[in-house]
């Protein structure tokens, strides 16, 4: 079996964004649980934060191919 060590590196690099996305949605769920009427206000903010955190993982994926 042969492969590329940078695959392992990319796997390690996604830990950071993964934790970030988890924290963002944890905070979102907390916020909605405490104040359900704030849901519509919090949803775009949570998804925006998720998209920005996820961008780091996507960078890693694309840099891998360049």
């Amino acid at each position: 079996m042969e492969g590329n060590l940078s695959l392992v590196g990319y796997g390690l690099a996604t830990i950071g964004p993964a934790i970030a996305v988890g924290l963002i949605f944890a905070a979102y769920i907390n916020g909605v649980a405490r104040q359900p009427e704030a849901r519509n206000l919090l949803q775009p903010i949570a998804i925006l934060g998720f998209a920005l955190a996820e961008a780091l993982a996507i960078f890693g994926l694309v840099l891998f191919f360049i």
Binding site: E2, L48, F50, I58
Partner: protein, 271 residues
């Protein structure tokens, strides 16, 4: 961008010992589907499906909105809810009630086009997300890029637009550093992440689905132990389809949301 760099060197031979043909993991080559011609000017399958999606969306939307009535039919009700998601949920919430109407056509077109093309990735006759080729996200990002700079410059003038990059009330010595950072954000990071996020998600999701399905099909050709292993593999493939449906909707939503927030940022009076 060369997406075929992986083609050599990452294939694994799982089943070679069993006597069958070895299993080849899918490579980024699976996205290269030329129909007519070859090289840089080839017409690919994704281009055709992109065109089909535009025609499909136009026909369906015209048909559903033609006979608009006070008491809506099922189709009109569906269409209005879908339109409201982009109009109220994205454009109005992000841009604000004052300026948002002007950008609703752009944002709604982006949302519906990306959504349909993403869902092509799991719909049986196509099974290939159009935005898995980097050129398509780049084209949409270019439109957004030009629009948000254009409206910013039109509102504040070229000098005013660059001045607006630095938030007011900062001490003088830090302003150059903030300006450089904000400049990079506005002109390089934003379009780059906007295009790459959509591309990366579609690309990775499609690769994952192909990997599970082809691995499951390969296990069926092997010995009895591998045949049993193909059952959980196919279950995982089905789960990935459901997960991808969610991700593809979310990415269409995120792309439109970010485009709206960039427009809102260029229109904002101060930071």
């Amino acid at each position: 961008m060369i997406l075929t760099a992986l083609a050599a060197g990452t294939t694994t031979a799982v089943g070679a010992a069993e006597g069958g043909e070895g299993f080849e993991t899918p490579t980024p080559d699976i996205f290269w589907l030329p129909l007519i011609g070859e090289g840089n000017w080839a017409i690919t399958e994704q281009m055709v499906w992109g065109g089909v999606s535009v025609v499909l969306l136009s026909v369906v939307m015209v048909a559903l909105s033609k006979k608009a009535a006070i008491v809506p039919s099922k189709g009109q009700f569906f269409m209005e809810n879908f339109y409201n998601l982009a109009r109220n949920g994205i454009a109005r919430d992000m841009i604000g009630t004052k300026h948002f109407l002007k950008f609703v056509p752009l944002l709604f077109s982006l949302f519906s086009l990306i959504l349909l093309n993403n869902w092509f990735g799991i719909l049986p006759p196509v099974m290939n997300p159009t935005f898995g080729r980097i050129g398509f996200p780049i084209a949409l990002t270019l439109v957004v890029y030009v629009v948000y700079h254009w409206i910013g410059i039109k509102k504040m003038g070229v000098g005013g637009y660059f001045k607006h990059l630095v938030p007011p009330g900062l001490p003088g010595w830090i302003k150059p550093a903030i300006f450089v950072l904000e400049f990079i954000t506005y002109f390089i990071t934003r379009p780059l992440t906007l295009a790459l996020r959509l591309f990366g998600n579609m690309f990775a999701g499609h690769m994952l689905i192909v990997l599970f399905v082809s691995a499951g099909a390969f296990f069926l050709t092997q010995g009895i132990a591998f045949k049993l292993l193909s059952v959980p593999t196919f279950i995982m493939a089905a789960a990935m389809f459901v997960f991808e449906a969610l991700v593809q909707f979310l990415q269409a939503y995120v792309f439109t949301l970010l485009a709206a927030s960039y427009i809102a940022g260029a229109l904002a009076d101060d930071h």
